[in-house]
């Protein structure tokens, strides 16, 4: 497969911006108020560190997927445990995707439609997309990238007229280190799932250029989310912003009365949904690879449907108890779990480093 390096850039941009742009910003407005940008920059920096470790682990064996050579670094059983945890994380993250989408879409556009209906449809779409394979998913992200970029520019254009620029000095005057540290760590959990890129090999080789390209993409995502956060703050302020669930949507809807711009929100949400499908489909693809590794390649045809059904069931159970969903989504336990999974490359790097020092280097 001949995917170029910049295709990877576009794919990672779409992959990361899908959840962060809509769901991270309201959370950040609530917890950080005027100093959210400090948390974003801190989180971006920490995620770059994790990216570095991930690339180093990937380069140990560029032609093999991590899932295959991982057992040579830490031993078969520990590797199996890590893969199992990764599998659970992927399914859980995909279920979050589905439930976020159902809540977002269902409460705004399809009120009255039972959530299970939307969940089944989304599940089928994700199932189908995941079976297409990684190459197709990367090409899909390629295709949606330009539209996504233009839609982002359009939304910035719609935010600007109502932005209160005299609020800008407030961003410099608020800097509580305790809040900044805590929120940097929770922002890192949103930005740092670089280990999914270890699954690109062998289709995509981990070269030296990859670190540079993914670092550029990490900074670009940081800038996109930062812009979104600034626009939300300037339009709604921290006090109203923390009460609204989807400020982005409110902004577009309240922008004008007569012309098409005020009614453009379904189009923008549609473009966003495409990125969300790519995100979830990629996660299910990875989960499938993990599951096949654990089951020693048995049950290839059934695996993806089975995993998607698991995610959908979790999403359905959450939709029956919304309060638990909201408390879980923002809980520290989830952030801790996410960070634990995202630091897997760090453990492998330490293990490989120690082995090379002891003398039993990875061949």
């Amino acid at each position: 497969m001949h995917t170029t390096k910049w295709q990877l850039f576009r794919f990672s941009l779409i992959y990361f911006s899908s959840q962060t742009t809509i769901f991270l910003i309201p959370i950040l407005v609530e917890t950080s108020g005027y100093q959210g940008w400090i948390a974003l920059v801190g989180g971006g920096f920490l995620s770059l560190c994790i990216l570095f470790f991930t690339i180093q682990v990937g380069r140990l064996k560029p032609d093999q997927g991590w899932i295959d050579f991982g057992k040579e670094i830490v031993g078969t059983w520990l590797h199996r445990l890590m893969v199992l945890l990764l599998l659970c994380w992927c399914i859980y993250y995909a279920s979050f995707d589905i439930e976020n989408f159902v809540l977002f879409f269902g409460s705004n556009y399809t009120r009255g439609t039972p959530p299970i209906f939307i969940q089944i449809i989304i599940g089928l779409v994700i199932m189908y997309t995941a079976t297409l394979g990684i190459t197709t998913i990367i090409y899909m992200a390629d295709g949606i990238f330009l539209i996504f970029f233009m839609a982002s520019l359009l939304s910035v254009y719609m935010f600007i007229p109502y932005a209160d620029l005299s609020m800008l000095p407030a961003f410099l005057h608020y800097h509580d280190p305790g809040i900044a540290l805590k929120d940097s760590i929770s922002v890192t959990s949103w930005f740092a799932d670089w280990l999914v890129f270890l699954f690109l090999a062998p289709e995509l080789r981990m070269g030296s250029k990859m670190l540079k390209i993914l670092a550029v993409s990490s900074i670009s995502i940081l800038l996109i989310v930062l812009t979104g956060w600034i626009m939300t703050m300037l339009n709604f302020g921290p006090h109203l912003g923390k009460e609204l669930q989807y400020p982005f949507l409110e902004m577009i809807r309240s922008s004008s009365h007569h012309n098409i711009l005020g009614n453009l929100d379904p189009l923008l949400i549609g473009i966003w949904s495409a990125s969300m499908f790519i995100h979830a489909a990629f996660l299910i693809y990875i989960a499938c690879k993990c599951a096949l590794h654990l089951s020693k390649q048995k049950g290839k045809r059934l695996m993806i449907p089975l995993l998607t059904i698991c995610s959908t069931i979790i999403a359905y159970l959450y939709s029956r108890n919304i309060v638990m969903y909201y408390s879980n989504f923002n809980s520290d336990l989830i952030i801790g779990f996410w960070l634990f999974i995202e630091c897997i490359p760090v453990y492998y790097f330490i293990a490989a480093f120690t082995r090379s020092k002891i003398g039993r280097a990875v061949k």
Binding site: Y34, F105, S107, N108, Y109, T110, R111, G112, T113, P114, F117, I118, I121, L124, V125, Y128, Y162, D164, S166, M167, P169, A170, H173, Y174, F236, G237, H239, L240, E243, L244, E250, R253, S254, S255, S256, H257, G262
Partner: protein
């Protein structure tokens, strides 16, 4: 296999449109305006809904069809807004749909009691567009709809255009919510309704609505109303908080060395607010800028506008500063921080804000120091020198 995949894709595409909860257009009643009044009994609220009648809209615009009313009003009273809306719905043959609302009008008595329930209801509904214009009516809000829509098709359209034209304030629900959540004040248009016998077609007096000033709110209660001149000055000083005040005109006179008067149309008008922290507390500087076009000029000594331009500018600046200062004094007496000066303290001086936050309303009424200055320039003199 390929056919199966294609079929699956098409099936998914069709179902993703979410037609599980669709309602056809002709089963909906679109709410174009909501008019909220205090009910006859204390503790009740009367909600009136104005909705267009599409089948009559066309006939009302044809010649001689002025008698046909193309909109429909229904009012119900209940102890809270949601109950009143439920009562309205149960008498209608179609479902109410709020997503196309154009205007919200509060009756004066209801506004004095407190509009926080209404604002909370607007905030929570996902279909409700936060950019809807709000305004206050003298007396009962629902009587405003009796106005004859001469230029537009519906009275809600007329009221919406008052705000859209930005001749005074263009307050939206979002502005109110933003001010409420930051514990600041806000102002909205204060309508006037009366009879204009000159416009009647068949000897029947015609109701005419307009704007008579601004209504000032703090903590979701109407505190005071302002006259037009002061409201316009306040709207200018409020900058983008009032939308963007459009083309205000000012007339000034002079009578040293001959008398005369001139009218200036402001082609551009901006206001900027700066805050400086002194030992006595924050001081706010409101600077008004404008570019002027002279539309009328008369001088008893026959001088030309070019010669007296500096006097004109001086008088204009003095007049506008006086108006704005008077308006700000009125807001202080009402205890309504319309310019949201408290936010300036919050953004620039967090330590000071911690001290003042708890008693900002009191501080604004008694202790706040505001200095108003202006700087205008003449952009053109019209077609005559």
């Amino acid at each position: 296999m390929k056919l199966l995949k294609l079929l699956l894709s098409v099936l998914l595409l069709l179902n993703l449109a979410g037609c599980g909860s669709k309602i056809e257009l002709d089963e909906l009643t679109f709410i174009f305006g909501i008019y909220i009044d205090a009910g006859k009994e204390p503790g009740t609220v009367e909600v009136s809904i104005s909705s267009p009648l599409p089948n009559r809209l066309l006939s009302s615009t044809q010649a001689g069809g002025g008698n046909v009313k193309s909109h429909f009003m229904v009012s119900k009273t209940a102890s809270n807004i949601t109950d009143a809306v439920i009562l309205i719905q149960k008498d209608l043959s179609r479902r109410l749909e709020i997503s196309h609302i154009k205007v919200i009008v509060f009756g004066e008595e209801y506004a004095r009691q407190g509009i926080d329930e209404a604002l909370e209801w607007f905030k929570r509904q996902p279909e409700f567009p936060l950019g809807t214009y709000v305004m206050t009516a003298p007396g009962k809000a629902k009587e405003v709809t009796q106005l004859s829509a001469i230029f537009e098709q519906l009275p809600d359209q007329v009221l919406m255009n008052f705000s859209e034209e930005n001749l005074l304030f263009a307050t939206t629900v979002k502005d109110c919510l933003l001010a409420e959540s930051s514990k600041m004040g806000y102002a909205m248009n204060y309508l006037s309704i009366g009879q204009n016998s000159h416009l009647s077609d068949e000897g029947k007096p015609v109701h005419w609505a307009g704007i008579q000033g601004a209504a000032m709110f703090q903590q979701a209660r109407l505190r005071r109303t302002l006259h037009f001149r002061e409201s316009r000055a306040l709207a200018w000083a409020a900058g983008h908080l009032s939308g963007h005040l459009n083309l205000p005109e000012y007339t000034i006179t002079w009578d040293e060395e001959g008398s005369g008067k001139a009218t200036a149309l402001f082609l551009s008008n901006t206001s900027s607010i700066r805050s400086v922290l002194t030992d006595d507390g924050p001081v706010f500087y409101v600077k008004l800028k404008g570019k002027v076009s002279i539309t009328n000029f008369q001088d008893s000594l026959g001088r030309k506008a070019v010669e007296l331009s500096s006097i004109v500018i001086e008088k204009l600046q003095a007049a506008v500063v006086k108006d704005v200062t008077d308006a700000l004094l009125a807001t202080q007496e009402a205890g309504a921080d319309i310019l949201q000066l408290g936010m300036r303290v919050e953004w620039n001086y967090p330590e000071e804000w911690k001290k003042l936050k708890g008693r900002w309303e009191d501080y604004y009424t008694h202790d706040v120091k505001i200095k108003v200055t202006s700087a205008f320039s003449i952009q053109d003199l019209g077609s005559v020198k």
